[in-house]
């Protein structure tokens, strides 16, 4: 029963929340707008003073900007999940003969798609601002893969927040610390000039390895083992967050 209908049920769920997104385009604009403003600010205001060691600061900056966009985009996933729980829509689905995991996966896939749309918009703006990449198709695919993994990792964290929050503000407040992670990383400036304590944190938190891997891929530099560290971080976060999200789901929707 569960397995037989999983795909068709999930496509209904996906269709449902994609409609939500296309009917509230302001959310996508909001998600894309802040990172674009950051990009303008960093390139045209701070950019001249920042010694990033590369000629083109937009090229240096873009990976971090993309991660910021994802970190703010997933707050909407938490928001949508919170509303579904609160309005009893999950209860309705759960009393129906459908594949129950499809309910959550629908939201997760929607998060992937909506974040992808925002990222495309941001990359287009970056192109206008002078972003250029010599990367070939394989490197681009690797970049897309890493970004998708990062989105999945943060989406499952968002799911925990959305399913366990008591208020609507609580459901989205968790994303603020996530937004700050790129600032304390190699996303905007090289970590070399940071004081030791900050530097140790910056160099060992997930964003730095992810940013470095994407930056190397986009500039056709050797990636080294950054990419494996990046992937390991994402997969690790996904595994842990998934378990907690499922637990929150069962507690909240099934009251068990």
């Amino acid at each position: 029963m569960e397995a037989r209908y999983f795909l068709s049920d999930m496509s209904v769920m996906l269709g449902r929340s994609m409609r939500h997104i296309f009917r509230s385009m302001d959310t996508i604009i909001k998600v894309a707008l802040m990172p674009i403003l950051f990009m303008l600010l960093f390139v045209y205001v701070f950019g001249g003073a920042i010694q990033s060691g590369t000629g083109n600061y937009v090229n240096y900056l873009l990976p971090g900007i993309l991660l910021i966009a994802i970190a703010s985009g997933i707050a909407y996933t938490a928001y949508r999940l919170f509303l579904d729980v609160q309005k009893g829509i999950f209860e309705r689905f759960h009393s129906m003969p459908i594949a129950h995991s499809a309910v959550l996966w629908g939201h997760v896939l929607t998060s992937l798609v909506s974040n992808a749309i925002s990222l495309v918009v941001i990359v287009l703006v970056a192109l206008l601002m002078g972003f250029r990449s010599p990367a070939g198709i394989l490197s681009w695919l690797a970049v897309i893969g890493i970004l998708a993994l990062f989105t999945l990792a943060l989406t499952w964290i968002a799911a925990i927040a959305g399913l366990s929050a008591k208020t609507i503000d609580g459901a989205s407040a968790f994303s603020f610390p996530l937004l700050f992670l790129p600032f304390i990383s190699s996303a905007f400036v090289p970590t070399g000039t940071m004081p030791p304590a900050v530097r140790v944190f910056a160099e060992n938190q997930p964003v730095t390895s992810i940013v470095d891997a994407i930056r190397a891929l986009l500039s056709s530099q050797p990636v080294g083992h950054d990419i494996w560290i990046a992937i390991a971080w994402c997969v690790g976060i996904i595994a842990v967050a998934y378990v907690f999200a499922m637990r929150a789901y069962k507690r909240r929707v099934l009251s068990r």
């Binding site: 029963m1 209904v12 009917r23 309005k87 829509i89 209860e91 009393s95 129906m96 459908i98 009251s255």
Partner: protein, 257 residues
């Protein structure tokens, strides 16, 4: 097939230290309207959640349409439909899309026909292409009920179906519930309004502090009390009657013009 639609035996459920259900047992016959009457916190919603496969009891058994709720929840889900305390409609989707969605999730063919039929029956055809978020409370509740009827479930659970509705909308819901039962559907509803149970239910069970303290037809319940004493009391119209009278007069006056 027996003629009992729902059976529960000795259901118990505690939340942390609070014992909400202390051994609840009752039977609901096929095709009847059964009202579970109780005040806030009496355990009505807990009972409905257990029967609708959303919650497991600590002990006790229950079956719906002949299927054990704990052992074969999927079979139960195929024969039931739940309308929760809050109207669970997707406010971003239109009325028609909401119905389509449920029809697809119930894996039915002919979504279009089903949706049109229900829109018509619940007087929502004119609003079918508006997003449900723009509906009035009564319209949302009607859409909610319509969504519960997709796929013709044989047992319908209504958790306080008229809470938050104005008198007019409440009467509409009552009419729909009666229609459902006429069509052979078993209706299990919870309410804290005595007059709602009185108006609708074939049988009434009173849930008080986690136990069923009475379970009978209205006539039987009335017999439990001393014989009615005939008194002459001036019949004052209730505020509800006045309200309905005035609003209907207003409506017909508008139609005349």
């Amino acid at each position: 097939m027996t003629d009992t639609a729902i059976t529960t035996r000795n259901l118990r459920k505690s939340f942390r230290r609070t014992e909400v259900l202390k051994g609840v047992s009752f039977d609901v016959r096929r095709g009847e309207i059964f009202a579970l009457l109780g005040s806030n916190g009496a355990g009505k919603t807990t009972t409905i959640k257990i029967l609708a496969t959303l919650m497991r009891p600590d002990s006790g058994t229950s079956s719906v349409s002949g299927f054990d709720v704990a052992k074969s929840p999927d079979k139960v889900r195929q024969s039931i439909s739940l309308t929760g305390q809050f109207t669970a409609v997707d406010e971003m989707l239109t009325g028609r899309e909401n119905l389509h969605m449920i029809a697809r999730l119930r894996h039915l063919d002919n979504h279009g026909g089903i949706a049109e039929g229900l829109l018509e029956r619940f007087g929502l055809t004119h609003a079918a292409d508006r997003s449900a978020g723009t509906y009035s409370g009564g319209m949302k509740r009607r859409l909610d009920l319509a969504m519960s009827l997709v796929g013709k479930p044989s047992v319908i659970f209504l958790d306080e179906p008229t809470t938050g509705l104005d008198p007019e909308a409440r009467l509409q819901v009552w009419e729909m519930v009666k229609d459902l039962a006429k069509g052979g559907t078993t209706v299990f509803l919870t309410t804290q309004h005595l007059e709602e149970a009185e108006a609708l239910a074939d049988r009434i069970a009173i849930l008080h502090e986690g136990r069923i303290v009475a379970d009978a037809t209205l006539t039987e319940l009335k017999k439990l009390f001393p014989p009615a004493k005939v008194e002459y009391v001036e019949k004052q119209p209730t505020l509800e009657e006045i309200f309905l009278h005035m609003t209907r007069k207003e409506a017909s006056r508008k139609e005349m013009q």
